[in-house]
Symmetry: C2
Subunit: 404 residues, 2 copies
């Protein structure tokens, strides 16, 4: 018998309660031990919930109850969530989280604390919702050296881009629709500006490359600069615009990680990832490319990943696993300035001007382009090289093109 | 220090040797123990191989060497591979295999024997080459009830179908090309007739549903009946023909598993899986659909999956995991006769005749269709219902349409 407390009875937290209740028998069989929900911590009361009688408001009840073995943290953010996580670990309880912000900012420190107290700190649900990615990535890592991770990591922005591409909605209209459908929050900044994707690529890169990589080491560009003009030009050359989180291991052992919109070939597996789906590709020196695909968010998928971690924490109670990566540091990363790629450039300039500035380019066309607007695909080079060549030209958009 | 012996120095076996040598340092760090190759068993000698001095011809050397902790079986088939696996397990050695035929036919019995001798029998590489699927599926299983598995499980047939679709090659020409490229064997029967896919869906279904499902319980149809006419009709309605292995859990708790060509919507993630790639979708009651994608075969991808299992066997030496599923039996499965789906029908008949036989149909068109040939999409029904309706009509092809 393992008793569990959930912190935060929002979408994911209530999903966890539901999955434990719904699949309890099945979980018990798999685990050879039953998992029982004892407390739900929230500021609010939920008198109409079937879990109403489990709701409490004081964390110290959980902290001081020796029966509670696993604490599920689904509060989000790095405030109360951090404080309660620290206190739970210090009280000798394993913590399972879906909170990417906390793991991206403090994962190393929290794993270290878990180690000191001989408990687990698990975070499968922090990336890719219900897609099993953290544990498979460890498995890929077993016999491979990972060289690159690249993914569509945020369902909200992928939904917005999909609606722009398929329905011709403007960014603003697509965002509004996403909000109406519950796919985007009232304040969509964290999603739209790429912060959410940034946190997730930090977690994946830390795991893949073995050192903590912090959000501030990852230059991040969101999708608010993507226009329907760019979508149309991309379409004209058989490509789709996708917000990618990437982390590349250089030959110098340093990691270049960044988040930015990219043009992706329509033939590439990532191009087929639509709506709120996520996908993560992992490149290993023996395995080649593998991809993991599924719903990147949502109540039950994310909750099922949390519950899988709860089960893992319980089954490993005698020998928890601790450090998935080592400490961070400035020396771990380099800015992606030296990463070469082909580029998509849209500018107030003639094709001639762009050609003479950049060299051999492919000129793109779209219906209804205003006079003086030109878009091209430019050959592979670094961002610095490109910007130098384009100096003096009125650049409107600059996106990397993902190479096959 | 863990010493390993490889049985069979073919494509996968030599890849395992290469991965152990190439990533040895990395593996040692991850495992906190080094892995060293001690023997390679093969009938042949390999005087020019860097591993020449490890090659032996007598299995009893391995069997009687207490230093050998893990035996890697990459012989294939259910003859010598089975005998050596039994002997290795009885000698207290863990066995890691890429041999889907052996696992599909004797997995339960071999896991049981491993349990009796307190060692591991691991088979990640038997499905999906380097794609991590066996362990992630266990993870999906943790908090989900799996209801369906559906996959493109054979790279050879997927390559042939891709070449038929994209290059307009006939089945025979595409098969020949696959043989020339090393993607198909001189005797392509096991791939082309679906037996390989059948073994893999048996393994996945046994794991997902907890009872051994044997190949003879899985009706299997290959791709030799797929014609360019069918490819063209499928294309005309935005679909692609794919060979799918499927296993569906009915409300009665019984599993319907089968292998057959299907029409798949061009929008579906599985439609984008081309050439020798594999993909496996898993449907769970909490997780929704997740998909795992990558190279389904090939020396290094498959070898890296084997080596990950070797590492797992070594790290679990004190407490191996045993039974992934229970015993099989006639009561575990039902034939897929009651599985309803829409159908693709090509026949020597008029559209009128098909409509009056089957009901509301969508008539398809292709360039150059001979007079009297008609292809339609028919509504969802069982195979038996369809065949009864079509009695007396000269049916040429009958494929299921995968519903979204």
């Amino acid at each position: 018998m393992a008793k569990v407390a959930i912190l935060g009875f929002g979408v994911v937290g209530s999903g966890v309660a539901e999955v434990i209740r719904r699949n309890g028998e099945h979980i018990g069989q798999k685990l050879h031990a039953s998992v029982e929900l004892k407390y739900i911590l929230d500021r609010r009361d939920f008198p109409d919930s079937p879990f109403a009688d489990l709701v409490i408001h004081d964390f110290s009840v959980i902290e001081n109850d020796p029966e509670v073995e696993v604490v599920v943290e689904t509060i989000g953010g790095a405030g109360a969530a951090k404080e309660f996580t620290l206190r739970a670990l210090k009280a000798g309880k394993s913590v399972v989280t879906s909170n990417k912000e906390l793991v991206a900012k403090h994962g190393y420190e929290l794993m270290k604390l878990a180690q000191e107290h001989n408990v687990s700190y698990l975070y499968e649900a922090s990336v890719g919702g219900g897609i099993p990615i953290i544990r498979p990535l460890k498995q890929c890592l077993a016999a491979n050296e990972i060289t690159e991770i690249c993914g569509i990591l945020n369902g909200t922005t992928n939904y917005i881009l999909t609606r722009m591409i398929r329905a011709g909605l403007s960014f603003d209209a697509a965002l509004k629709e996403a909000q109406q459908n519950g796919y985007a929050e009232a304040d969509p900044t964290a999603d739209v500006e790429g912060h959410d994707a940034c946190r997730k690529i930090c977690i994946l890169a830390s795991l893949a490359f073995g050192r903590h990589i912090y959000p501030e080491q990852v230059p991040t560009e969101g999708i608010s600069g993507v226009s329907l003009a760019d979508v149309a030009y991309a379409d004209s050359c058989g490509r789709k615009i996708k917000l990618l989180g990437r982390a590349i291991l250089g030959a110098d052992g340093k990691v270049r990680a960044f988040v930015a919109p990219h043009l992706v070939s329509g033939e590439a597996p990532l191009a087929g990832v639509e709506d709120v789906f996520n996908a993560i590709t992992v490149k290993g020196n023996a395995i080649g490319d593998v991809m993991f695909y599924g719903r990147g968010a949502g109540k039950l998928p994310t909750a099922s990943a949390v519950v899988a971690d709860v089960m893992d924490a319980v089954s490993r109670r005698d020998r928890p696993k601790f450090m998935d990566w080592g400490p961070g540091g400035k020396e771990v990363t380099l800015p992606p300035e030296d990463v070469k790629s082909p580029w998509y450039v849209r500018a107030k300039a003639t094709a001639e001007a762009l050609r003479s500035a950049v060299g051999e380019v492919t000129v793109l066309a779209r219906a209804g382009a205003p006079e003086g607007e030109t878009a091209v695909l430019a050959p592979a080079m670094t961002r610095g090289e490109l910007e130098e060549k384009l100096s003096g030209i009125g650049v409107q958009t600059l996106f990397r093109v993902l190479e096959d």
